[in-house]
């Protein structure tokens, strides 16, 4: 899954993102935690992607199809960026 997501991002020319590990959580599909799984099986990740507003739609069009049918939450926040020359 992780690789599918990053591949989709790369395919969409979105090269800036960060992946954080997730310990567990709860949602529509009930509580979930690493503990209920044999550890060789995969875990969950949080993907942070900071980008210009005008590129947001592009991102969402790219990523949502990959996530469709999968559990998870997508949310958008405004933020101000320093060292903006990097974007």
């Amino acid at each position: 899954m992780e690789r599918r997501l990053t591949d989709a991002l790369q395919a969409a020319d979105i090269t800036g993102y960060t992946l954080l590990p997730v310990l567990g959580g709860s949602g529509r599909s009930g509580p979930w935690s690493r503990e209920g799984q044999v550890s060789i099986a995969g875990g969950m990740v949080q993907l942070i992607c900071i980008l210009r507003e005008e590129r947001l739609d592009h991102l969402l069009q790219t990523v949502l199809p990959v996530l469709e049918k999968h559990i998870g939450v997508v949310c958008v926040t405004d933020c101000e960026v320093l060292r903006a020359e990097r974007f």
Partner: protein, 324 residues
């Protein structure tokens, strides 16, 4: 019958099973005992490497005697066919819809490598030999069942679930690659290679397996707690009946292949066991609508403990009575 009872008792009293029971009990009592994810993964890497390597060394020592190819073929076939049996049984015994039934069925065609390892340990304790290449058979049985499950889903809806990427992900799954790779290394280096790393992969093996089973008990117990509302009588009955049916299919195939009693017992165990690593990972990608609470709990919470405690001695007794 007496023999089975005694074997089962002996099996139940081994540190391996008791470690699993300890984990299960701790989880059900809601203790916070837990094995860190990285440690559990390291343990499973150790077990896969050791079991693959020793299988390869056994093949190097005794040769494959023509049996390897046929056994691989038979294993692949068993893995592909068992899901249909499981699917039919699920439609009769439970109220699962097609999607979930197919997902569960895929798990029972595939195998649980830890159950296999535990069976090997019992054979060793009893001093019973077996074909070294059964490790390769275990590896080949991981994947075909997934195809059958996806076919069962797409049959009705025409929905295509399989693509090249997924196929590749399944076959290059870490546990398959490690098992097969270690098997090949063991085969290539033979007894010389074994003597170099024997104090690492042979002597401490059972102790490591104890800790791994402790973790499996914790995982199974927590899964049962979390999914207790999903699991009803029909599902439990399926989770106990299917391994026995699977093992009989394995026994029949073993007889056709002319395997030794030990090898037959291992093929029975493979057929009886249900996957909780490779297949769930594939299902999460290919059938995300299916409920992991159902298929994981069945394979890990019902069938795995059953095989570990009662199944393995049963399969051993049957294989020795009918093939020995």
């Amino acid at each position: 019958m007496n023999d089975i009872a005694q074997l089962a008792l002996e099996n139940l009293g081994s540190p391996l099973i008791l470690s699993f029971v300890l984990g299960l009990a701790a989880a059900l009592a809601r203790s916070d005992l837990s094995v860190p994810e990285a440690a559990a993964k390291a343990l499973s890497i150790y077990l896969l490497f050791a079991i693959g390597f020793k299988g390869g060394v056994a093949v190097a020592a005794h040769g494959i005697a023509g049996g390897l190819l046929f056994s691989l073929l038979a294993g692949a076939l068993l893995s592909a066919v068992l899901p249909f049996l499981a699917f039919a049984l699920l439609r009769v015994m439970t109220k699962l819809d097609t999607l979930n039934a197919a997902a569960v069925a895929g798990h029972y065609g595939s195998i649980s490598i830890v159950t296999f390892v535990a069976a090997t340990s019992v054979l060793e304790s009893q001093g019973i030999g077996s074909e070294g290449y059964m490790v390769a058979v275990a590896a080949i049985m991981e994947a075909p069942a997934i195809l059958s499950a996806l076919w069962l889903v797409s049959r009705g809806s025409g929905d295509k679930r399989m693509d090249a990427t997924l196929w590749r992900e399944i076959l290059l799954n870490g546990s398959i690659v490690l098992l097969v790779g270690a098997f090949l290394i063991g085969w290539a280096t033979g007894a010389d290679g074994l003597s170099e790393i024997e104090p690492f992969i042979v002597a401490p093996f059972k102790g490591v397996l104890c800790l791994f089973l402790l973790d499996m008990g914790l995982v199974a117990g927590r899964g049962l707690l979390r999914s207790r509302d999903l699991i009803n009588g029909g599902l439990v009955a399926f989770g106990l009946a299917m391994p026995i049916i699977g093992s009989l299919a394995g026994l029949a195939v073993a007889a056709l292949l002319g395997l030794s009693p030990g090898g037959a017992m291992l093929l029975m165990t493979l057929s009886a066991s249900a996957s909780y690593i490779a297949v769930p990972a594939a299902m999460r990608v290919a059938l995300p609508e299916a409920d992991p609470g159902i298929y994981l709990t069945l394979s890990l919470g019902i069938t795995f403990p059953f095989n570990l405690t009662l199944g393995i001695p049963l399969y051993l007794a049957l294989s020795q009575a009918l093939i020995g």
